[in-house]
Amino acid sequence: MLTARNLARYIDGRPIWSGLSFSISNGERVALRGPSGSGKTLLMRALVGLDALDEGDVLYRDQHLDEWDIPEYRRLVRYIPQDAAFLSGTVQQSIEQFFTFRANRDLELDTAGLERFLGILNLPESFLGKTADHLSGGEKQMVAIMRSLLLGPEVLLLDEPTSNLDEAMVTRVEALVDVWMDGDPERRLVWTSHDTRQLDRMTTRTIRLDPSSKKQLVESS
């Protein structure tokens, strides 16, 4: 269980969100909704400790974020930032690089899984040899998602994961995430998107960030 208690974040003294509480159980698919500037990205970043919280606590497996070894925690609770591909080398190398981190030491790149993912995304094997400057924005997003899934997270926080993809590619990425979710009942995801129909398709529950009501959060099922 990933639990947020009374989270608040202020920027220049103004609350972006405050009094925010929710928990995400195994198998859940949560949409994080709210207008632009309501702090969806900031909330995801705070949940993985990339930003500091001004108030409140994040707990995972009943353990406070401060008590976690942060790299270890981020291996399990995975935020995929927007525009998160890689800088140099090939797709394959950028994937392999992430397996060298100390926190991922005991993981091994599942080549069969990688091939399966490529199949679902309808990408040729030669895709793995491409360098960063030969990838489109959409292809980079697919690399980022494949790489994240291969590293075996338990919670996936996806921030506009298909913003640069055309319709056909969106369908494939959604299929890939579905396959991943079905792989283990303990997996769960949080998804933000400007495309509300995508959120309806991919999620079953909503956390809403509403900047107009200062006392935050309407939660609906």
Binding site: R74, R75, A84, F86, L87, F98, T100, A103, L151
Partner: protein
């Protein structure tokens, strides 16, 4: 000192040398190149600064007070530390302290080792050796520090997305910062490495030239130059490493977060 083996430069000779520049300034004015003002300001500053330093050094060389020499050394290190930061495009809190601490520690360590261990100057504070050696070492460490700092901050700003992607996939702050640290060190060391590569082929180093002009045998001057370059390389590497690691500790928090909000653009 015994009689000098070099020609002492008088005021008239100085003026004649300055006249070399006046020709250029005249050309600049006639052709409206807009270079004249900068050249004049630069020439005047250089003259005044060097004249003052000459007076101070003359005084220190005469009194030979260890405390005074040490004070001079501290002031030199302080000025170098501040100048190193002033050349950077961005700042973070404590950057001046980082620079001062690293440049002083590395320059005193390397110069200290040189005068006591390698050259075995007696007394160790003999300003004839201590001051010029320290000056050479500081000047180069300054460049290393400012380039290293600049590259480190630039990298953290430009590659923020990538660094945070690594962090959010389980990289520790060290793993996420490693490439930026490597690049910053490399950048800081480039001028020193390049200088060593071409030394004696393309350029005759200033210190060596000075010694030869002052009557030293070229082979002796060359040996001094080698010692100096080893000192410069060691000190620049140490200073750049020190300042980049301190910057790393400031820009990557202990809970594995990139603290780009601490970086400010220079006003």
């Amino acid at each position: 000192m015994e009689n000098t083996s070099y020609i002492v430069i008088g005021n008239w000779q100085l003026a004649l040398a300055a006249a070399l520049l006046i020709v250029n300034i005249g050309l600049s004015v006639v052709l409206r190149l807009g270079l004249g003002r900068d050249l004049i300001v630069g020439a005047v500053r250089m003259t005044v600064q060097l004249a003052l330093v000459g007076l101070v050094l003359e005084w220190i060389f005469e009194t030979r007070q260890p405390l005074l020499i040490l004070l001079m050394a501290l002031i030199m290190a302080g000025l170098a530390g501040v100048a190193a930061v002033q050349r950077t495009k961005r700042r973070f809190p404590g950057v001046y302290w980082n620079s001062l601490v690293t440049i002083s520690a590395s320059a005193f360590l390397v110069t200290g080792a040189a005068v006591t261990g390698i050259l075995q100057v007696d007394p160790w504070y003999d300003p004839q050796y201590l001051i010029p050696l320290l000056g050479m070492v500081l000047g180069n460490a300054l460049t290393g520090i400012s380039l290293g700092l600049d590259r480190m901050m630039e990298g953290c700003v430009r590659n923020r997305n990538w660094i945070e992607t690594m962090l959010s996939h389980g990289a520790s702050r060290w793993e996420a910062a490693h490439e930026e640290i490597r690049q910053a060190l490399r950048t800081g060391m480039i001028p020193t490495v390049n200088a060593m590569m071409i030394m004696g082929i393309v350029s005759l180093p200033g210190m060596m030239t000075g010694q030869i002009l002052a009557g030293a045998a070229p082979l002796d001057a060359v040996r001094y130059q080698m010692v100096i370059m080893f000192m410069v390389a060691a000190c620049t590497a140490l200073a750049t490493l020190g300042v980049v690691l301190l910057a790393y500790r400031m820009l990557f928090s202990a809970d594995h977060r990139l603290m780009n909000s601490r970086i400010r653009e220079k006003k």
